[in-house]
C-alpha cells in the first residue's frame, strides 16, 4: 500500500533498446542470433555443440551432462539474467537414428530475450539429464511431465514420479514414437488396469507420513521416509 510501489518492468536492463514490435517477414534461416548464444560459446567453449537460428529463434545445442551448470550461469550472470523458465520438454524424431532432444525455453524478462537450449540424448544410453529445479521452481512439474511422457530421468529432482498418468501405469511412456497412438493393450485391458489402479486409494509416500497408516508401515520403510526419500518408479 506504499506510494513508492514500483512494478517490475520487463526490459528494465536494456532501456535503450527500441520498444518490441511484431516480427514481420521472419526468415527461415539466417536471422540475427540472440547475443546469449555468443556469450555461451565464449563462456563454455567445449559444451556448446552448435547454434541454429530458425524462424528468428536461437537454439543452442549443449552437452546434456552440463545442463545445470549452463542454466545456472544463464540465470545468475548479470549480462544474461534469464530469470523465467518458460518450458521444459522433449522431442523425439520419426527417424529412429536421431537422438531425443531435451528442450529448455528460457526467457530473460529484464532483457526481453528468448533462448532455446537443447541437449541431445542418444537412444542407446539411459535417458538422463540434470534437473534445473534448484534454479527454477517452475521446472518441478514440467520435468515430471517430461519424465511421464518420455521416460527421461531428471537427476536431482526432489520428487520425480508420474504426473499425468497414474503411478502404476504399465503401458510405457506415451509420447515415445514406438508407443502406438491407442496404447499397447486392448481397450478392455486398459479399462481393467485403470479400474484396478484406483489412484485415490494409493497415497504417495509423502501422504502416508501424514495419515494414520504411517504406524503400520514396516520399520525399514518408515526410516527411509523420515530420511526424506520419495517414491519413484
Amino acid at each position: 500500500m506504499s506510494s513508492a510501489f514500483q512494478p517490475v518492468l520487463p526490459g528494465s536492463a536494456a532501456p535503450h533498446e527500441p520498444a518490441p514490435a511484431t516480427p514481420k517477414q521472419v526468415p527461415h534461416r539466417g536471422g540475427t542470433p540472440n547475443p546469449s548464444a555468443a556469450a555461451l560459446q565464449s563462456r563454455f567453449p567445449g559444451l556448446v555443440r552448435r547454434v541454429e537460428v530458425v524462424w528468428g529463434e536461437t537454439s543452442v545445442y549443449i552437452d546434456g551432462a552440463h545442463a545445470l551448470e549452463i542454466v545456472r550461469w544463464l540465470h545468475d550472470d548479470a549480462s544474461q539474467r534469464y530469470d523465467y523458465l518458460s518450458d521444459v520438454t522433449a522431442v523425439e524424431y520419426r527417424d529412429p537414428e536421431q537422438p531425443i532432444e531435451v528442450v529448455w525455453h528460457l526467457r530473460s524478462l529484464p532483457y526481453r530475450r528468448f533462448l532455446r537450449l537443447k541437449a541431445e540424448l542418444p537412444k542407446g544410453a539411459p535417458l538422463e539429464v540434470e534437473s534445473v529445479w534448484s534454479v527454477y521452481r517452475a521446472a518441478d512439474w514440467l520435468e515430471r511431465e517430461c519424465y511421464d511422457m518420455f521416460g527421461i530421468r531428471f537427476s536431482g529432482h526432489p520428487d520425480l514420479r508420474r504426473i499425468l498418468m497414474w503411478e502404476q501405469y504399465r503401458e510405457g511412456y506415451p509420447l515415445r514414437k514406438d508407443f502406438p497412438l491407442r496404447g499397447r493393450f486392448s481397450r478392455s485391458e486398459q479399462l481393467r488396469q485403470a479400474l484396478a489402479a484406483n489412484p485415490e486409494a494409493r497415497y504417495s509416500m509423502e501422504e502416508l507420513t501424514i495419515a494414520q497408516a504411517f504406524e503400520d508401515l514396516p520399520e525399514a520403510m518408515r526410516r527411509r521416509l523420515s530420511s526424506g526419500e520419495r517414491t519413484g518408479e
Binding site: Y84, T89, V91, F114, R137, E145, E200
Partner: protein, 437 residues
C-alpha cells in the same frame, strides 16, 4: 452437586479480532442448564492432540476445484500445513494426437484443450503454424484475430468471475457473467457457427469472414458490456465479505512469481508487468492503446482487481480494432497453405492441384521449429512445433500456463485455512483441460 463443565470455545463478537485478523477465542464454561458460569483459562492441550494432523482429500470430483483436480491437504485443525496436488484426471493425449494429424486438422484439438479460450487458442495455433510455414497473413485477418483474442479473453475472465464468486459464496455474479457470455456466444455463432469450440482459424487465414451486420452487433456489445463490469465492481470490490475472504491470501512476491514460472494475471498481481502482448508482441498489439494492470500485493484480491481491469482493457482494444478493420481478403493468397476459393479450384488447374494436395495430404512446412507465445487469459500460452517437412508435426507441444501456475499452489496455501484453499485455487484460474492435455 458438581456441575458438569463443558469447555466451549466461542468467538467473542465480531470486533474481537486479534493481530492476525482472526477471531479472538475466549474459552467459556457452560453449565448444564446452559448458562455461562465462570470464565476459566483453557485446559492444557493433551499431548497427543498436538501434532496429530489430519489428511483431507479434496476432489477429483468437487464443485469448487474447477475441473478434476485432486488436492490432498495436511491440516492442523483448520490450518493447512501441506498441500499435495494431483492432476492428470483429464489427460487425453492431445500432444500425441497432434503427431497423427495434419496442421489444419489439429485446430479442433486446440479448442478443447483450454475450452474457455477456444478461439484464442485457435489464433495462437495459427500464429505458430504460420511462422513455421513462413506465411504472412492479411491485414484484415490480423485485426479479426485481435478481435477474436480479446473476445476470448473476455469470456474466459467471465467464467473465472462467475465460478470464483460461486466458490466464495456470491451466486448472482455467476448469472450476470454467463448472460454476458451468451452475448459473445451470439457473436461467435454468427461468425463461425459454433458457440464454444469454434475452430475459427486455418493456417494462413480464418475459416470464415465475418458476416454482414456483425460489426454492428460487436459495437453494441462493446457499448453494453462495461455496464456489467461496473455492476460487478460495485457489488464486490468494496464488499466486506469479499474483501474479508480474499485480502491477504495466497500472496506471492515478484521474485517468487517469476521463479515459479507464473504468467498472466497471477504474475501481474504480484507486481511484475509481464504481458506477452507488450514484451513479445504479435498481431500488431504494439499499435493498440491499452494498459496492463499490475497489482501490488499478489494476493487473491489483487488478482481479482487485475482481471476485472483486464475486462475493461479488452473492451478498449475491441473498440479500437472495430474501428480499424480494413477491407480485403481474409485468407492469404498463398494457396500452398490455404485452400483456394471454390471458383478458382473448379476453373484453374493450378488451384485444383493445390486443393487436391491440401485435402489429400495437407500443407507441408519446411523443416524447422517454432514457438510463438501469446497472452492467453491464463498466462503465457504457446505452441511449440517441430517439423520434419511432412504434413504432420513431429512434435506439437502445448505450453500450458495453468499447469505452471498451479504448481505454485502448495506454496500459496501453506498456513491458510481450509476455506482459503478454495479461494486461492479459484484465483489461479485453472482449466484442467489445459493442465492435463
Amino acid at each position: 452437586m458438581a456441575t458438569t463443565k463443558r469447555t466451549v470455545e466461542v468467538a467473542v463478537g465480531t470486533s474481537g479480532l486479534d493481530g492476525n485478523g482472526r477471531p479472538r477465542r475466549m474459552p467459556l464454561t457452560v453449565t448444564e442448564n446452559g448458562s455461562v458460569a465462570t470464565i476459566e483459562p483453557p485446559p492444557p492441550i493433551e499431548p497427543d492432540l498436538v501434532g496429530e494432523h489430519m489428511l483431507i482429500n479434496i476432489g477429483p470430483q468437487h464443485p469448487a476445484t474447477h475441473g478434476v483436480l485432486r488436492l490432498v491437504l495436511e491440516l492442523d485443525g483448520e490450518t493447512v500445513v501441506r498441500c499435495i496436488p494431483h492432476i492428470g484426471y483429464l489427460h487425453c493425449g492431445f500432444e500425441k494426437i497432434g503427431e497423427y494429424r495434419q496442421y489444419n486438422q489439429v485446430i479442433p484439438w486446440t479448442d478443447r484443450e483450454d475450452y474457455l479460450n477456444s478461439i484464442g487458442n485457435n489464433v495462437a495455433f495459427a500464429l505458430g503454424a504460420e511462422r513455421l510455414f513462413g506465411v504472412e497473413i492479411t491485414p484484415r485477418c490480423t485485426v479479426l484475430r485481435v478481435i477474436a483474442m480479446e473476445l476470448s479473453r473476455i469470456i474466459s475472465h467471465l467464467v473465472w468471475l462467475g465460478t470464483t464468486c460461486i466458490d466464495i459464496g456470491a451466486f448472482t455474479p455467476f448469472l450476470w457473467a454467463f448472460q454476458e457470455r451468451e452475448n459473445v456466444y451470439n457473436l461467435l455463432e454468427r461468425w463461425v457457427g459454433a458457440r464454444l469450440t469454434t475452430t475459427a482459424t486455418r493456417v494462413g487465414g480464418m475459416a470464415a469472414d465475418i458476416p454482414d451486420g456483425w460489426m454492428d452487433q460487436l459495437r453494441h456489445f462493446i457499448k453494453t458490456f462495461p455496464k456489467t463490469v461496473d455492476e460487478v465492481d460495485r457489488m464486490l470490490t468494496k464488499n466486506g465479505i469479499w474483501v474479508g475472504r480474499t485480502v491477504g491470501l495466497g500472496a506471492m512476491s515478484a521474485e517468487e512469481a517469476v521463479n515459479y514460472g507464473l504468467s498472466g494475471p497471477m504474475v501481474r498481481a504480484s507486481g511484475v508487468a509481464f504481458d506477452v502482448r507488450r514484451d513479445f508482441p504479435y498481431l500488431d498489439y504494439e499499435t493498440y492503446d491499452f494498459e496492463v494492470p499490475v497489482g501490488t500485493h499478489g494476493d487473491v484480491y489483487d488478482r481479482y482487481l487485475v482481471r476485472l481491469e483486464e475486462l475493461r482493457q479488452s473492451t478498449r482494444i475491441l473498440a479500437q480494432a472495430a474501428d480499424r478493420l480494413p477491407d480485403g481478403p481474409v485468407n492469404t493468397s498463398d494457396h500452398r497453405v490455404i485452400l483456394p476459393p471454390k471458383h478458382k479450384a473448379m476453373n484453374n488447374i493450378e488451384s485444383m492441384i493445390h486443393h487436391f494436395k491440401q485435402v489429400m495430404e495437407g500443407p507441408r512446412p519446411p523443416i524447422g521449429e517454432c514457438y510463438v507465445p501469446v497472452e492467453s487469459p491464463k498466462g503465457e500460452k504457446g505452441y511449440y512445433f517441430v517439423s520434419d517437412g511432412t504434413a504432420k508435426p513431429v512434435r506439437w507441444r502445448i505450453r500450458p500456463p495453468s499447469f505452471v501456475n498451479l504448481s505454485a499452489i502448495p506454496k500459496m496455501v501453506e498456513g491458510h485455512l481450509l476455506s482459503d484453499v478454495i479461494a486461492i485455487n479459484a484465483s489461479i484460474d485453472i482449466v484442467m483441460g489445459e493442465i492435463d492435455r
